[in-house]
Symmetry: C2
């Protein structure tokens, strides 16, 4: 028995679906008829030696000629396709690892091999967004044991690339996030690298926040470096600040983050695995993790902070790296800007020792850099902060930062948003509370992080006395539509900043 | 402040994405630029008085002219769009009910109002498949309490249409499924309607099986009837056998089923809500539910069957309907055919009293019809089976069935598959075990249910003695590709039917 010929020739339509592989075929084409495909079926698309699993969308009009098929941009890229290439489309086999996801839904624990299978299938695009969503949901809400988090972390390391370094000590840091504007990383890397420790920092883009460190750093220099360029930067300058996604460390993480973003979901187990897998894959030996605690930060209670601390330390220990946790104040934003460009402006002013630089951002950066410097066997406990302060105040950190930017491809000008709106106090009083979560949403609605210049520029802090009509913050946007959207949300949420009259 | 004009004119591309609303826009169009949209963003698309939420796919080539946008077929239909219509595309507000899904993920119970919000958002297309997948997963694995299942069921009824009937007693039946070929419904409706009880039967299409009752019935007559036609059929003939999806009873159910199918997930709470919401919306007062139990049926243990029984009875009682549960043998397929056309052939042979009609299908149908007839206040317990048998054997049931088919739009010829393959015994012995689950997969791989004629025709039953070379079953397919796919699976799963040598 021979199969009917199931080939079609590609025409590029250029449909961008982000990370979802889609194949477009005429409903009445010979392959659909011969194979008996259904709409939204998962099918195997092969081109030469490469093959992927894609979701089938059917075309009911003539805009695609007979004998032609098309691919979403992601699928086009995965198959390295060119106009006119011949593809073969066949039924996709069922994905065995989905039975593991179902087992997890029913409350069974997964093994390391189980997680490897799932993460491998996600990495190679065998899961649709529906499947990833189910996997994430099944693991959320505290449903992963410590052992499972260890196995998941290890699986995420195993499936991707792994960097290695000549130094015995390779340091890293991570902030669990949730604090708008908390952009200490570029300052810390500059101080620590100037001190002489190796700090190859890979950061993520925003998940649910208006800017990730990679988004902010991208305002100042290229961050999408391949592994070789990254290693050259670190060899030369001891440090770098790049986007983790472009070096294929823990490659499933990006696809997971895309779905987490759509769900607006951050689960503890996934968080620990996501953070530590990237640190381990980046070749780190010593990692400092900052957990800000506050009623509207990502971690809202001491209890949850301690739970995360225990997970991070025990998973780190099991996987052979030193993890040090510090808790910090998460009650209000750090610095003044919220959004990539406004945060970049703040961190540069700290590095340049500008008189109006946000002191809270400076203090946080110095404390964290001090802890990291204490990972060095030559530095005693308690000495780190002094060393960090000396490096920043002498201008060595600013000089190091500029050298890192140059090595990454050249320093850039910070863009400014064309549309701004000053949000003013409706009455006089003292600032009592700032809702970080909803403030971050305003910045997102204004266009951050994809619009770099968009965001919020704060003029207040807790306890500040305000006169009626004083500006509380300025909304920055690249388009009138986004500005209107942010203001619409503000109109419905006037209690984001609460004041005590007086 | 005024918004920039965010309108585009529609061009129909005819891209079928099943139930996912997608809008296609040029990456460089004035609306994307002005609004700052991101790929895969959820956006609000308005046309005249109607508006929907759609997923944004961006076009990076010139195949869509400037000023033009397109919609997936589902979105096109929802907006009742015509070529050239002007649409407005703006940011979609965040969906408040997603925070309820997150709350469920974290183990909190949801209220009736909560479920109503979620089901309403699903019905109106505000959830993407990612969101529906997360909701289903969060509710699966026994994570809904009895009270939550009641609330979810009620919510699914509330959001859709509801039929009402002049009769005091309106009966219905449901089989929890998992048994290939178990197509008793058309036989039962014919007997019960001939007896004189009102039985407006709405059935579903296949979820994870090779055929649902609606798929099988569609082989014999139209099943996509609107509510008015349906009511006329029942007024005339006391019974009908139609597809539930076309009368908008529990409309969220179809979108939920689509995602469940992709996940191959059946959760108990969702199952109870799905079954009972449709019965209540169909106006039923008395419902018989058949739960087949067997190692490879949907319900594999007495324990799970009793759990389901308790849920179904208590939820039914809370919502004011009589639910009677019977357990039946679920160890092997019923009848001979598995797949729409082959099952249709079996049920017609039972109704026509053909000498070679499958006796197991006949027996099951009579037992169930007997129980339903006992819902009548005029029939004593234990009398139903005799009455049912008399109606079938007198030819009244076959006559009633033909009249129902005529009323639904006319009886159809049963199609035959052009490609068949006889799967033969490799040795002599006695049939010891039949794996229903994997046998159903073979029928699906052969093209069922979308290819009506595709499926499996069984020649064996448990305990049958087989000679080497005897046909065990025949695979039917509409295309060589599908036949090859089914045979490929069989090749890897030769133990679907196990025999004891002797």
């Amino acid at each position: 028995m021979t199969l009917s010929k199931s080939t079609l020739h590609l025409k590029r339509l250029g449909i961008d679906t982000y990370k979802e592989a889609v194949v477009y075929m005429r409903e009445d084409c010979h392959v659909c008829l011969a194979e008996g495909f259904e709409v939204q079926a998962r099918v195997k698309v092969s081109l030469g030696e490469r093959s992927i699993i894609a979701t089938l969308n059917m075309i009911k009009t003539d805009f695609l000629d007979q004998g032609r098929a098309s691919l979403s941009e992601h699928a086009w890229h995965l198959l390295a396709a060119r106009e006119g290439d011949e593809i073969t489309v066949t039924h996709a086999k069922s994905i065995p690892s989905l039975s593991l996801v179902r087992s997890k839904i029913y409350g069974n624990a997964l093994s390391g091999d189980n997680f490897c299978e799932i993460i491998k299938d996600i990495t190679f695009g065998r899961y649709s967004d529906i499947h990833i969503s189910s996997f994430l949901t099944a693991c959320a809400g505290g449903r992963l044991s410590s052992q499972e988090i260890i196995e998941l972390t290890q699986a995420m390391v195993t499936v991707g690339d792994r960097l290695s370094w000549p130094s015995d000590i390779v340091v890293d840091k991570h902030c669990v996030g949730g604090l708008p504007g908390n952009r200490t990383t570029p300052i810390i890397v500059s101080i620590v690298a100037a001190f002489g420790l190796t700090m190859p920092k890979t950061s993520s883009r925003a998940i649910t926040s208006p800017a990730g460190t990679a988004d902010t750093m991208e305002v100042l220099a290229p961050v999408e470096l391949d592994a070789l360029t990254l290693q050259n930067v670190v060899k030369k300058e001891k440090g770098c600040i790049v986007w983790g996604g472009s070096v294929s460390l823990s490659p499933a993480d990006d696809m997971i983050i895309h779905v987490e973003r759509a769900l607006d979901l951050d689960s503890e187990g996934q968080l620990v695995a996501s953070v530590l897998s990237k640190k381990i894959a980046a070749g780190s030996t010593h990692v400092l993790i900052d957990i800000p605690i506050g009623p509207t930060a990502k971690v809202r209670s001491q209890k949850k902070a301690h739970l995360l601390k225990d997970y991070l330390e025990s998973v780190g220990k099991s996987l052979g790296i030193v993890v040090k946790i510090i808790f910090s104040d998460g009650t209000q934003p750090v610095g003044r800007g919220v959004g990539p460009a406004l945060e970049a402006r703040d961190l540069v002013s700290v590095l340049k020792l500008a008189p109006d630089a946000p002191q809270d951002l400076r203090e946080r950066s110095l404390v964290l850099a001090g802890h990291i410097i204490e990972f060095s066997p030559d530095v005693k406990e308690g000495e780190g902060l002094g060393i960090a302060t000396q490096i920043l105040d002498s201008g060595q950190a600013w000089e190091k930062f500029q050298r890192i930017c140059e090595a990454q491809g050249g320093m850039r000008e910070i863009p400014k948003a064309p549309f701004t709106y000053v949000y003013k106090a409706k009455k006089r009083g003292t600032v009592m509370n700032i809702d970080n979560r909803r403030l971050a949403l305003v910045a997102k609605f204004a266009g951050a992080p994809s619009a770099k210049a968009a965001g919020i520029d704060l003029s207040i802090f807790l306890g500040k006395n305000i006169e009626k009509g004083d500006g509380l913050f300025t909304v920055h946007a690249n388009s009138p539509g986004e500005l209107a959207y942010a203001l619409g949300y503000l109109h419905d949420n006037a209690d984001i900043i609460t004041m005590q009259e007086g």
